[in-house]
Symmetry: D3
Subunit: 242 residues, 6 copies
């Protein structure tokens, strides 16, 4: 089973981190192919970057044979377009985290990085349907890179935010809304005694589940196959064929 | 990995059917232990049966060592109490079906058997959060046993109901809300060209996923461990210990 | 008119308190029969206790002739099963408090005891439909027994919580989510100048109202009569007859 | 206990009908004073009539000593203003019907007369909070007077509409949204085997309940006492005094 | 194009302020006719004043030829009745502010004066449909007149409230819920760097838009023309003619 | 005032139609510049086309000086990204139609062309907040070109759908969810006696209103300015500058 894990930004170091997180939980028979597009933004911080990450994401998906696809951006960038284009199932790491969290937590708080991502995540929660399960979306406003720096107090600050979420939001679980936080999910869970969910790992298990169940994206509704038509200019290669 | 699949009614033939459906999708390392309680109703048809199935369900769970638990009634009978009592993760086949359906279908219709189950399922959808993803809950009012009878037109009638769901409800996926329908999910999916989800199979993959992710039920909220206290009369054995 | 007020836990002292609260508001022609089950938990603190209180509650109801039934636990334990089983109207003290509060308060805060009860009450509010009328559900985390102790500061702490609810939640009314608080509803109301609603009293008046109106539980939907079928083991006596 | 039942239109024959319905369910100690205003519309059919019925309603309330007030128009005309003005509790027959219906019916259909009243009732349901409990609001478009005419088929047509509500809407209870239908509620209930709720009767029992509980309208929120200020012109007499 | 801007209270100085705000944004061809009723409350503070302002408002509308009507009270007093009565389009300044705010702000906070207006505004937001776009409704509890006083700290206090709304509510826009604040909208917008919306100006542009589009109030639903019928007493002049 | 009306597909004939509709309602001082991108899909039919229309849309916006921008696709394609990128206000024709409809219709039905657009529109309504004002989204499944063909019965079929919307959906207004239908809005309105709203015209008036009010997109939330960063490959020119 070949699983395409697409980092929708163009930064290879992030792809490597995501790939490692995916491989850490993949089943024995699952081959993880972690890739990033060759065009688009170096990181996705807000709706402009998000929209311009989609062509690269779709190009990457079209170029790679796969049994299933994970979109490894917590904003679930391009999820609908990818579902429409692909013949195989597609899962976003944001929605994966919300679904998995809902099985172990009655009310979870999402901790993301940038404030501007909060309304994006709230909309995604509403589309997914699980907004009522989310106590609050909090932004840490800690730069992703600070999480890696030796001597940084970033981890302590994230841990403080988890404590506040449990106390102030009435949350009983935490969703980490940033790939850079993934590797201390286990540590946070031990420290605070509640489930802490990382989206990449959740998405790998959900896509494996869909494949084991023989299920793929419905083409009878919003994710119907693109209709054949010409595309102009530098996007001509994206033109859907009948 | 030992997975307890509890049929919360006392009819062993249903346990066998459920166990077979679970084994059909279980991963190589998963041992499926399908059991039913020794006390309680012979079938669960409505809220009275549902409430009285819970003690047997909890007794069964307490008696069996397991790494994870599936509650195999589409009404998700006793799910909260089981999550509170168990130290391992618990998934209901109803919620499992809704979560999995949401990954491949934008709007799904649930087809259940009895009319009186419709409001129960609608409430469960609301608690899960996925009510907005459900186009409609339909009752077939076909007796479960008729599904098995040679010469019965039950299968054709279910298929007709799927067709109506796609046409009238705007659904692009189907959730089968009855274990007895599980074995023709694949046939219905082929005939109608949309994903058709069976809850038992979905729940097995989700509980395997939780275990692979090292996640279990939060004890910091509604599913907190029962507080130690005396229980009277014939339920004394259920008394929680500190 | 004989009104059965069932305390669904097995502690007779609580039954006496509840019975007194009921009698204090009952109409002249209403006979209050306050009872507790002979099986089940000594108190209901969370979903596990709640589920295991239901058989005792149903047994008690079946054993007692009555014109109407009040379930005297603020979690509305077993309300659906009781409505299905009983031929007479049934009202829970939680829902009674929400309905009555809505007639005198635009937005009320519920003050309950244990934190783990908060999500239970929020779900019940959602099922009832009146969640939008509830500003917030607060937990006092004051042990019920402390409310009775001479020299305890419990009353002052509850009163402080009422003040915070009016100030911070924008509430203009208070629902007391604990039978132990019932006898100082009037005192709190005088002190804070807003309606303070006790569920036992509210339920008695609502069930009297239903009886005066000649109304009883609809059997055409979720509360349909249980279908006849065998029950196994120690629950065999609960088997519905045709 | 003196209960003021205000028909907010100026037609005395309707007041007599309403008064009779109120007296039929009033408790022994309840004196029903049914009145109509001396100014305003002869009937309330839509939002214009509704707005212009309020001054007459408020004048009537101000002129009559009472322990409690029922507003006997299914649109709950002037309910907020009356609650703000009155020192005693006030209940509208629309909201009373929704609250009482919710205690015996999981999902009710409202049957009103005019199509233009449907959105008014839907808004009132939303304000009350009970919109999720209402399956549908249907308009019979049968003139109120036809209900009384000998030889009219109006009753049969209402009964047909009840049958459709149970079948098509999934309702298990009926609320009659028109005072003119009140006297065949019992007949419809017997014929269809579901609870049929009349708002006048429901409101009388709820206001009696509030009075027995010692509860009155909160003045800490939307229903705060009017602030003292001058009123101009022909409405000068309505000027609130400090 | 003659635009009637009705101040629904009887205080001419407020009418002048409103008229000036309207003229400041009116298109060249728009004539602003700012008027107040000759009957009713001197100011609208809560639901009682609001209800008794409607007859004067309707009288004023009926007396003045106009191509479009603005109701210049932030509570949208009498909006439905005015839409039913008038043959021309009608816009309330509250709803106008919410619609316009939604085009430039993802989540806005409303700042009003009196606490008792908060629930009125929240209901109006729900009827309009835009409650999900509103982060919070805050009351400044600053007397309107203080805003005008030289040396008053009222402006600084409003500005502090804007700052708190942006920080605590996650708002990215502000709606001023009081005509008295209108003239420092621009100043607040500059100081805080977010859009600040005044309802009078918004309503003038929206009604001009409707007129340019040739659109007027639908008479097929809740705003249907009043049916002809007698009105009694001092309101007889309001009687709708066929 | 220079208003950029962007047709986000690459078909110039559609741009001409849209430009004509915009000019028909523009104020005297408004210059309408109707353009289409040089890259992307020839038409937007579903989420894949929609996502790939965004780069061309953003390129077009960046290349053209303007005081305000209208996105002339009923799906509101790229609206968030455009708001983030542009320094001037941006309005989508879908949201414009919903807001304007809400001022003249209590409950409107949207009539679009393709079935696969229905869920897209429903999500947009939810984001806008006005989903509760929409009675139903209907798909005509009439090819856009058929609307222009002499002898086609397309107009009659749209008219029939309007009639069904008024009858079956309880709608009192119609939103035309397809630019190709714009020119018979007036005819449909006359025939059915209800407001019929075209999005292009609505958007022009709303953007003119924002400009007259001096309002532009908040940069304090989801539409914050893109952060400076490198973009790779053929999208490098989109890289935001600091």
């Amino acid at each position: 089973m070949r699983l395409l894990v697409v980092n929708p930004n163009t930064t290879p170091s992030m792809t490597r981190t995501i790939g490692a997180a995916a491989r850490a939980v993949a089943a024995p028979g699952t081959e993880i192919v972690a890739v990033e597009p060759s065009m688009g933004p170096a990181s996705i911080e807000g709706v402009y970057d998000g929209a311009l990450a989609v062509p690269g994401l779709l190009q990457t998906i079209a170029a790679q044979p796969a049994d299933g696809i994970v979109i490894a951006c917590f904003d679930d960038t391009g999820l609908d377009a990818a579902r429409s284009a692909a013949a195989v199932p597609v899962v976003g790491i944001g929605e994966a985290a919300y679904h998995v969290a809902s099985l172990v937590s009655d009310r979870f708080t999402v901790i993301t990085t940038l404030s501007r991502s909060v309304p994006v995540i709230e909309r995604n929660l509403a589309v997914t349907g699980l907004r009522s399960r989310c106590a609050r979306v909090r932004a840490s406003d800690i730069p992703v890179l600070a999480l890696e720096e030796p001597g940084s107090d970033a981890r302590r600050r994230i841990s403080d935010m988890v404590a506040r979420a449990l106390q102030e939001d009435g949350a009983d679980g935490i969703v980490l809304g940033c790939a850079g936080m993934a590797d201390f999910a286990a540590e946070l869970s031990r420290a605070h005694g509640v489930p802490v969910i990382d989206g990449v790992a959740a998405a790998v298990k959900l896509i494996e589940s869909l494949l084991a169940l023989g299920l793929s994206t419905s083409k009878a509704g919003i994710w119907a196959r693109p209709l054949a038509k010409p595309y102009q200019g530098s996007l001509a290669a994206f033109s859907p064929r009948s």
